[in-house]
Symmetry: C2
Subunit: 697 residues, 2 copies
């Protein structure tokens, strides 16, 4: 996909200016300076040649085939140029020009026209209002960013052009190589989803990194990233998390950011790694690009100083990175090569006077230990420290052993040579241990993502016709909500337990139904003319047996008649009386970007005051539902705290997956709340005591 | 304090070796290379001269006065050298030598002897097992760290020598200046507390930074830091937060780390700023050293690109940094100098093509706005960007306006000149916006610390004699706990409301007491031989009237007798039955380092499952107690959620301060729990339904 963007044989730059300060001139200069070896065609109707290159009056005037056109003409001319590209048979176009949607309604009109023209010719279009793109392995700099990155295996997309420029300059300084760089601009056609798909197939790309401000096609994004991460990690910094940030996004790109919760759930669903700062984004991407994934948990810290090792172990605790326990044999072997005062357990401290050979001896033993799946080597510059030689040894052992290896050489000039050697040897280096550990945590997270058995939601048997009819009926009646009775029937149709019950038209039916339901029961007057049943004594709870049932029946009917003599009375509804249990809430909200977002939490004050809830994007699998249960802070209350028996967790998982199936099947359901779901002790199931369903669309 | 350590007129180095690789040689070389202009005396009985310096056989053989002695002899000789220093009249000694407490019991014995010798001569001693110290303003490098920092205004102490070396090298590379550097070593005499006190008075020190693994004298630390922060900020990285980390500490320095909660509470009490990484430690310290404290809340972000500004606003949200709202007049003035497309609200975006003059014009207007108390200038390298000139303008305006100014020039070579100019101009620079914002957050926190009115705990009227006697009585009886009855009386003595009640020896007394207390009451068997009262039916609650009282009395006594025929029975205790209210827990635990640590939380599952609690070091003031209430996640339940009336918060604050007074008055109280304190609606007070007090000491 998008091959002509990243490996074109020929490139036309339309709008090349003779004026050196102009964007059109810079783009052309960058293209030449980048070392691109294909054909290059400058297009400018007012010039014969530029830098000795023959200049064409239009793309249609070019003799040879053109794979990629880069457009830098003024906004009002862009549409015409795209049309000419179409006529010329060019199918890949970058529009660097600004002045479109980001400037307001008039620009948005221009942008729509541009896209329609492109579509009519089958052209894929990057931009407008972007920096362009760079493909390091094709020596292609089709952007107005001056820096050509060294060829590496990180492909990076940025929804901010300026951030892209800064990152290109910064990665160059840090010696971080890139495979591709794309400035997304207004994403009029090519979006993050297209790039994720393109880079999934790109052999030069080992990891995909992204700076995103909003995602357009949420479901497409989740699907594309889910597919990608099976082969390569996806690390993204999504900004606009704050209200203030969200405002800045909308004024910046004119696009609306989806809710934070939905983004978190989408990243989780897709197996993406979410970075929270630019630094973290590249700390993690760099490690993925240079080192293999750890084969399992178990980090060993090798150090020549105690203090930094403590900082690293603290960071392991914070980040949930488990430390390796060494085999006895490993300890014995370490003992043979290390001084007596050395610490032989994790962290392994080779002491301040350690030369490179001591690090090397220890490291060779450590990577042999089956419990060691990742290594963090910490070095502080001391009198006899050999930073460069130590770095060389680390790189060699990492290469030979295949064990994931990161390093932290603390200091500046005293370790500079060592840091350079680490880079050259493919060892990710971090100036402080905390950043190295956070990176290991991200790698371990990705490993767990890959190791999790592929899980799909189990099919749910359901009476879909009943639900479709109930929704149609409510819509026909002009309602945006399903009635209580109907919501119960919808839930039942999806196998969600609701209190047993129904309408009894006379006492004989009531008696039969009550014995089927089982006492105690709740009785309510059934009349379309009586809305506030409890106000007139039309509800009775705790009916324990048949005599009480008769008394209740007579009384409720009498009260109804005395309240309104001519009320239409259908009879009474009977309902199983749901007794004690723990209350949870299961809710669904439809996110504009990502679709149904399912929430789980403890009911009542736990959700209202403590906001102790967790979210997943639908469809929610049983595995995910299980994890949701354990994620809330109050999980102990369900598991059985203070001597209580455990609640029936399986039944909650079951209800979650059924609710998920329901909202996935019916797009018309905009929101749904079971509040509360009464959860009984283990083995005794749960009951949806109150269900509200909102519809729309 | 400690003047001779930081500004000595003469220094003796004892144990100078002729062997270049030896520590003694390196220390002497460093001293000379650092540029120290005072007298320098090498001491080595086996040499006549070293590098042309006359060598002395011992310190006593030196003709002139010696202010400071640096000792690098083997551990077993150190004590003798300290004695000679004492004889010579030297009162300031650094023992770099290792091989003391950190090596085990034998080393600890050597160390104790060393300290005793020093004390007997009135010598202050730094170390042993340390790197030494550096005073940049005295050009004094009395350490074996090669790097002499450039003179600045950060004074840094490190409990890890290796971390110190690495930081010295790193700060040199980053252009961060230091006033003093001290490697604490084993802290046999001079501790972090001494240094905090010394640097409080040091005119060269504007900010104190520390890497600490443990604090010895917790109370002394809190007092010293509290006094320091009135004049200069204190920023510290305290490691060993994790269990794993704590193990590493104990194997590293032989000192025991206090509990994490206590350290957090101590830092809060003292007004210290706690950093979580080395990077953060110096990010913050550097800003304090170079820029004035913001005069109030209100940050303006000035940028030439949207993306990084969004990252900055996100970080503001995360860190609780409030953005400034600009005056209308400011907006109008900005409008006059900025292009039409510029964003005039916060963040102010001067657009990608902004030259230095546009930044300058905008910044001059912004620092005039009374709502702007801090500025973050973000710059991304674009075609027309003038990084160096922009930096110069920023530095000049910051100097002239006095408004706190930080900068983030993103990139590497493209902004290198600008970054250099920022450093030279005294503007703290951060490679990414998130770190700059976190630093602003720390500065704002320090400002709030300084602005908070000084608050002392209000005096509590109490019957201290009663408490002293109750404790003495329990100790005399060999108990580690105060009995329930006695604990109630202790609480009452400090004005803490407890349920009314007492011992009734017969039914007549019970009847009289119950009518005084008011029904309903709770009755319990009173017998020193029956411990688990409820197990034998020795407790009855909800006694509503006199007939029920008689039944309960007879039954309880009968059950007690049938349980143990010869039990000593004192009668029954009666207690007011405390009815409905919200349950909270107030507990105190005595931390070995920091003394009584008071916990507040909601009772029951909130503390047991949700761990929704907060801590303060005692004495807790009313202001602190108020803040504790709002800090728990479940505060909404106390304030009145779901239509409930607010709870009587004032009474909770009152109980907290009284408990605090009690445990401050009586060191013998090792732990105390009020669980639950039943809190009634506002105005109705609260009652300590159950009080447990542990004693010891």
């Amino acid at each position: 996909m998008l091959e002509e963007f990243f490996s074109p044989r020929s490139v036309a730059v339309v709008g090349v200016s003779r004026d050196e300060g102009k964007v059109g001139h810079i783009v052309f200069d960058n293209l030449r300076a980048g070392g691109f070896t294909g054909e290059v065609y400058p297009v400018n109707p007012g010039a014969d040649d530029i830098h000795g290159f023959r200049c064409y009056p239009s793309v249609t005037a070019i003799d040879g085939d053109v794979d990629l056109a880069v457009i830098v003409v003024p906004a009002r001319l862009a549409d015409g140029v795209v049309r000419e590209c179409g006529e010329k048979g060019i199918r890949s176009v970058v529009v660097i020009t600004a002045g479109f949607k980001e400037t307001g309604p008039a620009g948005a009109v221009l942008e729509r026209a541009l896209v329609e023209t492109a579509r009519s010719y089958g052209i894929r279009l990057l931009g407008p209002n972007c920096l362009g793109l760079i493909s390091a392995h094709s020596a292609l700099n089709a952007s107005f960013a001056v820096t050509m990155p060294r060829a590496g295996s990180i492909s990076f997309m940025s929804q901010s052009g300026a951030l892209g420029t800064a990152v290109l300059d910064w990665t160059a300084g840090e010696g971080i190589g890139l495979a591709n760089f794309v400035s997304l601009g207004n994403k009029a056609d090519i979006s993050e989803v297209d790039l994720v798909k393109a880079w999934a197939d790109d052999p030069n790309t080992k990891v995909v990194a992204a700076y995103l401000e909003a995602v357009g096609d949420g479901r497409g994004f989740v699907d594309a990233v889910s597919a990608l991460v099976r082969h390569k990690p996806f690390v993204a910094l999504k900004s606009g998390v704050s209200d203030a940030g969200a405002r800045a996004v909308s004024s910046h790109t004119g696009s609306l950011a989806g809710s934070e919760r939905a983004y978190d759930a989408a990243f989780l669903k897709a197996g993406a790694i979410r970075a929270h700062t630019v630094e973290e984004l590249f700390d993690v991407a760099m490690a993925f690009s240079r080192q293999p994934l750890p084969a399992g948990p178990g980090l060993i810290i090798l150090t020549n100083a105690g203090g930094p090792a403590i900082l690293a172990t603290d960071a392991c605790e914070r980040n949930g990175v488990s430390l390796a326990s060494l085999e006895n044999d490993t300890i014995s072997r370490l003992q043979e090569v290390l001084p007596e005062a050395a610490a032989l357990y994790n962290p392994v401290d080779v002491l301040g006077d350690a030369p490179a050979s001591r690090y090397e001896n220890a490291l060779r033993i450590l990577v042999d230990d089956p419990n060691v799946r990742a290594v963090l080597v910490i070095l502080t510059p001391q009198a006899t420290t050999e930073a460069k030689l130590t770095a060389d040894a680390i790189a060699q052992i990492a290469r030979e052993s295949g064990v994931t290896t990161l390093a932290c050489f603390m200091g500046d000039t005293a370790v500079a040579q060592g840091v350079r050697a680490l880079r050259e040897g493919g060892i990710p280096h971090y100036p402080f241990p905390e950043r190295a550990v956070a990176t290991i945590a991200a790698m371990q997270k990705h490993r767990r993502t890959l190791e999790a058995p592929p899980s799909a939601p189990a099919p749910v048997e359901a009476d879909r016709a009943l639900v479709a009819e109930a929704i149609a009926h409510a819509k026909h009646a002009g309602r945006t909500f399903i009635t209580e009775q109907s919501a119960s029937r919808i839930a039942e149709a999806y196998g969600i337990p609701v209190p047993r019950g129904g309408l009894a038209r006379d006492f004989a039916e009531a008696r039969k139904m009550a014995s089927e339901i089982g006492y105690p029961v709740v009785m309510k007057i059934a009349s379309p003319d009586i809305l506030h049943k409890s106000d007139i004594g039309g509800i009775q709870v705790g009916i324990e047996d048949e005599p009480a049932l008769l008394v209740a029946y007579e009384e409720i009917l009498a009260r109804a008649r005395s309240y309104m003599a001519d009320a239409r009375i259908w009879g009474v509804t009977l309902q199983q009386q749901v007794v004690d249990g723990r209350e949870v809430i299961i809710g669904v909200n439809r996110d504009p970007q990502f679709g149904p977002l399912l929430m789980f939490g403890l009911g009542g004050i736990y959700v209202e005051v403590l906001k102790d809830v967790t979210f997943r994007l639908c469809p929610v699998t049983a595995e995910e539902a299980h994890r949701m249960l354990t994620e809330i802070r109050g999980f102990g209350l369900l598991r059985g705290a203070r001597g209580q028996r455990p609640a029936d967790l399986e039944s909650v998982v079951d209800v979650i997956t059924r609710i998920s199936a329901l909202v996935m099947d019916f797009d018309d359901i905009t929101e749904l709340d079971i509040n509360p779901l009464i959860v009984h002790d283990r083995g005794d199931g749960s009951v949806a005591a109150d269900i509200r369903i909102g519809i729309g669309g």
